[in-house]
């Protein structure tokens, strides 16, 4: 029972702080009754599920966004150079007497 209380307290902190826990807190009947630590975290249930869904919903990490932004910046740069190429082509055509 003490194990369950401690585990739920940990979940509550994760949920209210809005941060993603380094590893999902484990809450299960198995751990409560046996008192052993599972080798791999079992699935979270109840209030803990809500906390995890919230964390996932806001979990577009900075690295991913940076990667996307980098791609977009490269595309912007390419487009700017394409504009310059178009301008050079336009200049030649505009001055054309053949």
């Amino acid at each position: 029972m003490l194990a369950v209380a401690l585990a739920l307290t940990g979940c509550s902190r994760a949920a209210t702080s809005g941060t993603t826990p380094a590893s999902p807190p484990s809450v299960s009947a198995t751990s409560a009754t046996s008192g052993t630590t599972p080798a791999s975290p079992p699935s979270v249930s109840g209030a803990a599920t809500t906390a995890q869904a919230t964390a996932e919903g806001s979990a577009t990490d900075a690295g991913t966004l940076d990667g996307i932004s980098h791609d977009l910046d490269s595309a912007d740069s390419a487009n700017a150079q394409t504009d310059a190429d178009q301008h050079s082509a336009d200049q030649a055509t505009a001055t054309s007497d053949g």
Partner: protein, 234 residues
């Protein structure tokens, strides 16, 4: 009515003046010659026309040496063409300088324009090819990469994505596909245009230019979609 006509005439004159003043000096300074011109006048006009083209081609060669847009094969094609045109302009100028009749000189003079189309074909097609290569080699692949990462984020975090964001991602995909459709093969099409084709149909370049502008517009729109989605996800 007369006043309107007068204003229109003034407006046209102003526009014509604006256009004329926006053109480089060589265009305005190229002497016009015809069958009534003297041999000396034709030779002088030919000297101006060929030296203008040689200068423009050499400037373009300098630009393309540092232009990272062009694929290596296209760069080789363009530089070979430019260098050949530089040599040809020198040869034509020398030939006209040695011509002894107005008829021959005039025929050779016209060849400066119709035989090479330096300004109408050679120079624009090189930069159109560079733009096309830049789109297909860099802009579109980078946009696809950004789109795929955004799509992966949508799959991983669906609750984070509103319907408007999903629609914007679809628009991004649509714009990328459209850009790709217009840009694929554009460089090859541009470089395939010959002076003879242009002489027969002056719109041959126009269609390529239209596709290029559409592709550029699409890639810019797709990039704008991507930037907006990144902002929404932050």
């Amino acid at each position: 009515m007369k006043r309107i006509a007068t204003m229109a005439a003034v407006g046209t004159a102003v526009c014509a003046l604006s256009l004329a003043t926006s053109l480089p000096a060589f265009a305005a300074g190229t002497p016009t010659v015809d069958a009534h011109s003297t041999l000396a006048q034709i030779q002088a006009a030919a000297s101006t026309a060929t030296s203008d083209r040689i200068t423009s081609l050499k400037t373009a060669i300098g630009k393309l040496d540092t232009n990272t847009s062009l694929a290596s094969g296209d760069r080789a094609t363009v530089l070979a063409r430019f260098n050949a045109d530089v040599t040809a302009m020198g040869s034509v100028e020398s030939k006209i300088a040695a011509d002894t009749t107005v008829a021959t000189a005039l025929s050779d003079y016209h060849d400066i324009f119709t035989g090479y189309r330096v300004y109408a074909v050679a120079l624009p097609q090189a930069f159109e090819a560079a733009a096309g290569d830049r789109l297909t080699a860099t802009a579109i692949p980078k946009l696809r990469s950004a789109h795929d990462k955004l799509a992966a984020d949508l799959a991983a975090h669906p609750t984070k994505w509103t319907d408007a964001m999903k629609a914007q991602l679809n628009d991004m995909a649509s714009k990328i596909a459209d850009a790709s459709g217009h840009a694929n093969g554009l460089a090859a099409r541009a470089l395939a245009v010959t002076p003879a084709q242009y002489n027969a149909n002056k719109t041959v370049i126009t269609a390529i230019r239209t596709d290029l502008k559409t592709a550029v517009g699409d890639t810019k729109a797709a990039a704008a979609d991507g930037h907006a989605l990144v902002t929404a996800l932050k």
